[in-house]
C-alpha cells in the first residue's frame, strides 16, 4: 500500500513556514484557514499550533469590531508588540499567517513575512484561482516591503 500523498499546497505552505521559522527570534509560525483551522505550522517545543491559530482568529475578530467602524476594507496586517513578544497576523484570503517572535527579533523579519505572504499568495492562486485577491495581496506585499526596508 502506498502512503497517502500530501496536498501540494500544504507542501508549499510548509516552505513558506520553514522560511520564516528558521529566522532568528521566531518562536512559531502558523498558517490557518479562515475558520482558524491549522493548515500547517512549525514552532518551538511548547508552541501549540492549534491554540495560536485560534487566538489569532480571536484577536482579528476582536480588533475587527471597532476597527470596521473606522475603516473598510478590513485588516490585512496586524502587529502587536509586548515587552517580550512580537506577534504578526497577516490575512491573505482565504488563509491567515501568524508569526510569533521575540520582541527583540531583527526588524528585517518584516521582509521575510512579506516574502512568505507572496509565496502563500501564489500557492493559493494555483489552488483556488483567487486572482483578484492575490493580485491585491501581491501589490500590497511589494509596497509593504518598500515601506519597511
Amino acid at each position: 500500500m502506498g502512503r497517502a500523498k500530501k496536498p501540494k499546497s500544504v507542501d508549499k505552505f510548509q516552505n513558506a513556514v520553514a522560511y520564516l521559522a528558521e529566522y532568528s527570534g521566531v518562536r512559531g509560525v502558523v498558517i490557518a484557514d479562515h475558520e482558524g483551522l491549522v493548515l500547517t505550522g512549525r514552532g518551538a517545543k511548547n508552541f501549540e499550533l492549534e491554540k495560536y491559530a485560534a487566538y489569532a482568529m480571536e484577536i482579528i475578530n476582536a480588533v475587527g469590531v471597532p476597527f470596521h467602524r473606522l475603516f473598510e476594507p478590513g485588516i490585512e496586517y496586524l502587529v502587536i508588540k509586548t515587552s517580550h513578544d512580537w506577534l504578526t497576523i497577516a490575512v491573505s484570503p482565504p488563509v491567515m499567517l501568524l508569526v510569533v517572535a521575540d520582541r527583540q527579533a531583527d526588524d528585517l523579519l518584516h521582509i521575510r513575512i512579506t516574502r512568505s505572504l507572496e509565496l502563500i499568495s501564489s500557492y493559493v492562486k494555483e489552488k483556488y484561482s483567487v486572482s483578484s485577491a492575490i493580485d491585491n495581496s501581491k501589490k500590497n506585499a511589494r509596497s509593504r516591503e518598500a515601506i519597511y526596508v
Binding site: K51, Y52, Y55, E58, I59, A62, V63, V65, P66, F67, R69, L70, F71, P73, G74, I75, E76, Y77, L78, V79, I80, K81, T82, S83, H84, D85, L87, D107, N136, N140, S143, R144, I147, Y148, V149
Partner: protein
C-alpha cells in the same frame, strides 16, 4: 517695503466699512493692513475681536498667525495656524507659514522638508526663496553648533545629535503632536487619555477626534483582552494595516499615542520620529 500711503488708504477704507457694519469680515483685511503698517498691537486687537464674532473665518486665523509671528509669539502662531488647518485644511499658504514658524523656532530640518516639497511645484516662488534665505541666516546666527550642514530636502527626522537633544528638551505634547502631524503621509496624531478622552489631536478625517480616539482605545482594549487570554503580556504597541491606511497605537504610561497614516508611509522614518518627539514626554 510696503507703500505707506497705500496701506494708510486701505486702513481708512476698511475702517469705514467696519464702522458701517461691525459684523463685517473686513476686520481681517483691516488687521492685516495694521500689521503691515507695523502696528501689531492694533492689528491684534482688531483681529482678536473679529474672531470672537467669526471664529471659523480661516483667512482671519491666517492673519492672526502672521500677527503672532510679527510679535515673535511663535508658539501662539503655531497654535493659531493649526486651528486654521483644522478649519479649512492645508493650503500652500498654511504650508509656507508652517515652514516660517518652524524656522523661527529653530527647527530647520522640518522647515526644509516642507520647503523642498513646495519648491517642487513652484521653484521660482519668491516666498520659497525668502524662506531659504531665512534658513541660511538662522544657520549663521544660530547659537547651536551642528557638525555638518544639512541639505534642503533631507528627511526631517535626520537630526544631528546636538539638534536632537535641543529639540527634545522642553517640548510639549501639543508641539510634538503638531510636529509629527506634518510628517509626509501622516493623516492624524492623537493623544488619548487612559479613559479614552482626547488630550490633544491633529487629524484630517471625516471622523471627529473624539470618535477616532474612542475607537482607537476600543481597539487597544480588545487587543489587551485577547492577549491576556493567550497568556501573553500586555501590548504596548499595536499596528494595523489595511489597503489604504495604517493605525499605530502606542501605549505610553499615562496616555495612548495614536498615529493614523496613509498605507505608504515609511514606518522606519515614522518610528524614528516618534521616538525623537515622544521619548521624553509623559504627563
Amino acid at each position: 517695503m510696503f507703500d505707506t500711503v497705500e496701506i494708510d488708504d486701505r486702513i481708512a477704507k476698511c475702517e469705514r466699512i467696519l464702522a458701517a457694519d461691525p459684523q463685517s469680515q473686513i476686520f481681517a483685511a483691516l488687521a492685516d493692513a495694521y500689521r503691515k503698517s507695523g502696528d501689531v498691537v492694533r492689528a491684534y486687537d482688531i483681529c482678536h475681536q473679529g474672531l470672537m464674532l467669526h471664529p471659523e473665518y480661516a483667512s482671519a486665523r491666517i492673519v492672526m498667525t502672521k500677527i503672532h509671528l510679527a510679535k515673535e509669539n511663535y508658539e501662539q502662531a503655531w497654535t493659531e495656524l493649526q486651528r486654521t488647518i483644522d478649519i479649512a485644511g492645508r493650503t500652500r499658504s498654511t504650508d509656507l507659514l508652517e515652514a516660517e514658524i518652524l524656522i523661527r523656532r529653530g527647527q530647520k530640518s522640518e522647515a526644509a522638508a516642507i520647503i523642498d516639497r513646495l519648491s517642487g511645484s513652484d521653484p521660482d516662488d519668491e516666498n520659497i526663496k525668502r524662506l531659504l534665505e531665512m534658513i541660511e541666516k538662522e544657520e549663521t546666527t544660530s547659537v547651536r553648533l551642528e557638525p555638518k550642514t544639512r541639505n534642503v530636502g533631507e528627511p526631517a527626522f535626520d537630526h544631528s545629535p546636538q539638534e536632537h537633544a535641543v529639540e527634545k528638551k522642553g517640548i510639549s505634547l501639543p508641539q510634538a503632536i503638531g510636529l509629527l502631524k506634518i510628517t509626509p503621509r501622516v493623516l492624524g496624531v492623537l493623544a488619548v487619555g487612559n479613559e479614552g478622552l482626547i488630550l490633544e489631536a491633529r487629524i484630517d478625517s471625516s471622523y471627529s477626534k473624539e470618535e477616532f480616539g474612542a475607537l482607537s482605545k476600543g481597539i487597544y482594549d480588545n487587543v489587551v483582552q485577547s492577549m491576556s487570554r493567550v497568556g501573553l503580556g500586555a501590548a504596548f504597541e499595536v499596528l494595523i494595516e489595511t489597503a489604504a491606511a495604517k493605525i499605530w497605537i502606542i501605549k505610553k504610561r499615562k496616555y495612548f499615542l495614536v498615529v493614523y497614516s496613509r498605507d505608504d508611509v515609511s514606518m522606519g522614518a515614522l518610528k524614528l520620529k516618534v521616538d525623537e518627539l515622544f521619548g521624553n514626554i509623559e504627563l
